[in-house]
């Protein structure tokens, strides 16, 4: 890679599987083609945010913000950085957070009052915590991060775009270190709406093949990564999970907002450019983590793209973790976290380079290559 190399040195996650991202990666690694593990997708339980956030501040926080703060703190600890807190300002460190639906619990509570009882009865405390940027703001406040703070609301690409923004912020010198990731929360309202639209269904996960995924469980979770320059990581002797080797994104300009792309052209293009940025060819990646499996109405465009680009070499290299993680748009951050854990392992038969692909309705495609440092 030319220029400033960016690496992942810490990972934190809060998901239905728990807080252990290494264990999550193990679960995702195993059982390829098998039925979905019931404890990966679904709702988060047994999470105690008061272990990470003072109860006085936690009282107002939306569940998404609390989980984002916890995941960020876990990622910082995992990176073996000095403890980050409100009292130690860090102007060289920023946060990039992605979310498809934002702080739903608080937004819904506020909107419900507004609709049912009128403006006079809305709670002023709810409004600031209802904004999409609240999780990033709380992460910045709780960890003292005074560098750039951004929130990306890009549906199924939310996590990937946030990580991409973080990589650019480090490369441009705007930040020495970024904590980036994404998350979403389960709510009855979203569940009802997606069920009514036929986008989620039964209590079991979907099948491995995107074409056969018929029912998906609405899930939730947050994953955060610590990103920094390779030089910075080396200087402090940090353990490096993975290096971000290449990123490329594009969109199918003819794809309607609520549909997945029908043509594979755009996907082939982003995968090719991401591999090219990494200085790799299709046969140089050991695994392709596809976007497939996270929605029942996906097109076959991604599968077609992999056939076109990887041919028979990719036949047994692709995995579809979406159905295992359940249906939530920002699950890509968890997939990416698991990919970083996987390439960071030293075993001879573990993948060294993974092409991570994300695809959203509206035709957006983003490919990201991570590799063993």
């Amino acid at each position: 890679m030319n220029g400033k190399r960016v690496v992942v040195t810490g990972i934190g996650a809060v998901c239905p599987r728990g807080l252990d991202v290494v264990a999550l990666a193990d679960v995702l690694e195993t059982g390829k083609g098998a039925r979905v593990d019931s404890d990966v997708a679904g709702r988060i339980s047994g999470f105690h945010p008061e272990r990470y956030i003072h109860p006085n501040r936690l009282r107002r926080m939306d569940a998404l913000s609390a989980r984002a703060v916890a995941a960020a703190l876990l990622s910082v600890r995992d990176a073996r950085l000095a403890e980050h807190s409100r009292t130690v300002p860090r102007p060289d460190t920023g946060v990039a957070f992605g979310t498809a639906y934002g702080c739903q619990e608080t937004t819904l509570r506020y909107a419900q009052k507004l609709v049912e009882q009128g403006a006079y009865f809305t709670n002023p405390i709810d409004f600031p915590d209802s904004i999409d940027g609240a999780p990033a703001a709380h992460v910045a406040m709780e960890l003292g991060l005074q560098g750039p703070s951004t929130t990306h609301v890009d549906g199924a690409l939310s996590g990937e775009v946030a990580v991409w923004h973080a990589v650019l912020a480090i490369q441009s010198g705007r930040a020495a270190r970024m904590i980036a990731g994404a998350g979403d929360t389960w709510t009855h309202t979203l569940h009802d709406a997606l069920t009514d639209l036929g986008l989620v269904g039964g209590s079991t996960g979907g099948a491995e093949s995107p074409a056969r995924a018929e029912t998906l469980r609405l899930s939730e979770g947050v994953a955060m990564l610590v990103l920094e320059s390779a030089a910075s990581a080396a200087a402090r002797g940090a353990r490096v999970y993975a290096e971000v080797l290449g990123v490329a994104a594009g969109a199918d300009p003819a794809c309607p907002p609520h549909r997945f792309p029908a043509a594979s052209t755009g996907i082939v293009d982003t995968m090719t450019r991401a591999l090219g940025a990494a200085g790799l060819g299709p046969t140089d990646v050991d695994r392709i983590s596809t976007a497939a499996g996270a929605a029942p109405d996906e097109s076959d465009a991604e599968v077609e793209a992999m056939r076109e680009l990887g041919g028979s070499a990719w036949h047994d290299r692709w995995v579809a973790l979406g159905s295992r993680l359940g249906c939530f748009d920002s699950a890509g951050a968890l997939r990416l976290a698991a990919a970083c854990v996987t390439v960071g392992r030293s075993g001879a038969d573990t993948p060294r380079r993974i092409l991570h692909h994300a695809l959203s309705r509206g035709g957006q495609s983003l490919s990201l290559v991570v590799g063993r440092p």
């Binding site: 819904l108 929130t151 309202t189 990494a278």
Partner: protein
């Protein structure tokens, strides 16, 4: 992987805007120059129960109606505003076909989608078909904003949707610049859009952040902001590419800064430290001294805390020059356009540079900070100089500053 080339100058080659005072940059700037206000009684929704019933609503031209897009359910009023601005900007830039086809689209919005959520909840309260009300949620996710604009304009490059609240428009420009500098695209449309919503109005009213009268930024009697709506989109390209193709350069983004107070979810840092860091970073990136700044387009919401914090930040960033550098805000004229504000104000700042004129801050009759900064009031002020600084701040202590400049030889 390609690095971000910080030496690559980024040019503005197209601008599109829509606010209560005009649906193109020239009309807007003429109105601003006259100190006009586009603030009136709210027509978009029932304001019963709100402390405030005025705002700066943007009349959408009839041509903005797009029946073919409306069928997708995501063609909201915010999307229509964004599309109006993006179409105009794209037309002015006259991009080569390949650059247009691969152009990135980075749009910011703070409140897009909340009317869809309200409609869904209202229908849920009243009952009715489940699927019918679920379809209303299709307009809720903000990511549909670039998808609708991209579909309408045939843009196939990377897309991103930014929500850093009221700094979204400026942060979108920063993200787009870095995409260009890392050569992820050859052109980028960046900016923001927001419609006036009941959710946003009641939210800011509940925080007592809205003035029941038209706002008076930097005035001793200021009591809060006036909400507005609109969109602003800039077409950005690498300057070297524009020169190669013989395109017209309207301005360059000489520098930018982005920081976070990390102090409070709604209140700005009273000392303005974070905002000052963003402004100083923009100057440093451009290698520009404070004395070279011809004017500051302030965030200037008109809330007591924001204005005093921003004055301190300007003083810290510009030092002694703060007392001689003209400062104004357009929010007293077009309201606070939320996620669009950063882009709308960057466009007005570029007009200021090219016209050599800084509009007055409407409604400013009793300036509070006259000893600290040089507030432009009553009438437009002639300026000379190459650089204008545009500030945008948002909830969460989010601070963005864009240093805009005329291309060399045009100042």
């Amino acid at each position: 992987m390609a690095d971000v080339d910080a030496n690559e100058t980024i040019a503005v080659t197209g601008m599109g805007v829509i606010t209560s005072l005009g649906a193109d940059p020239d009309t807007l700037f003429r109105a601003l120059g006259r100190g006009q206000r586009g603030i009136s009684k709210i027509r978009a929704f029932d304001t019963t129960g709100c402390r405030v019933d005025i705002a700066a609503e943007a009349p959408l031209p009839a041509a903005s109606s797009k029946p073919s897009l409306a069928s997708h359910g995501a063609y909201t009023r915010t999307a229509a505003l964004a599309l109006h601005a993006a179409s105009a900007a794209l037309q002015q830039a006259a991009l080569p076909a390949a650059a247009r086809a691969g152009a990135a689209l980075v749009l910011g919005s703070a409140g897009a989608g909340t009317p869809a959520l309200e409609a869904y909840l209202e229908r849920a309260t009243r009952g009715g078909s489940h699927r019918g009300r679920a379809a209303m949620m299709l307009g809720f996710p903000k990511r549909f904003l670039p998808d609708v604009v991209g579909l309408a304009l045939g843009l196939g490059g990377p897309r991103a949707t930014v929500n850093t609240a009221c700094s979204s428009g400026a942060v979108s420009v920063i993200h787009a610049i870095e995409l260009l500098r890392a050569r992820h695209c050859d052109a980028a449309l960046a900016g923001g859009a927001d419609e006036l919503t009941r959710f946003t109005l009641t939210g800011f009213c509940s925080l007592r952040a809205v003035d029941p009268e038209p706002c008076r930024p930097f005035d001793r009697r200021r009591r809060g902001m006036t909400l507005g709506e609109g969109a602003g989109v800039l077409v950005l390209e690498r300057l070297s590419d524009v020169r190669r193709r013989g395109g017209r350069v309207l301005a360059v983004v000489a520098g930018y800064g982005h920081s976070c107070d990390a102090g409070h979810l709604t209140a700005p840092d009273p000392r303005g430290d974070g905002a000052s860091r963003a402004m100083s970073a923009a100057l440093k990136m451009a290698g520009v001294e404070p004395i070279d700044v011809a004017f500051v387009s302030a965030h200037g919401t008109g809330t007591p805390h924001n204005d005093s914090s921003e004055v301190r930040a300007i003083c810290a960033a510009l030092g002694d020059h703060a007392r001689r550098c003209p400062v104004h805000t357009v929010k007293a004229s077009v309201g606070h356009c939320m996620g669009a504000a950063g882009a709308v104000e960057a466009i007005a700042a570029i007009s200021s540079l090219s016209e050599g004129l800084v509009p007055p801050t409407a409604g400013l009759t009793d300036p509070e900070f006259a000893e600290d900064i040089d507030l432009v009031q009553d009438e437009a002020r002639r300026i000379s100089g190459r650089y204008g600084l545009s500030n945008s701040f948002g909830f969460g202590g989010n601070n963005a500053a864009l240093l805009l400049a005329l291309p060399e030889g045009m100042a």
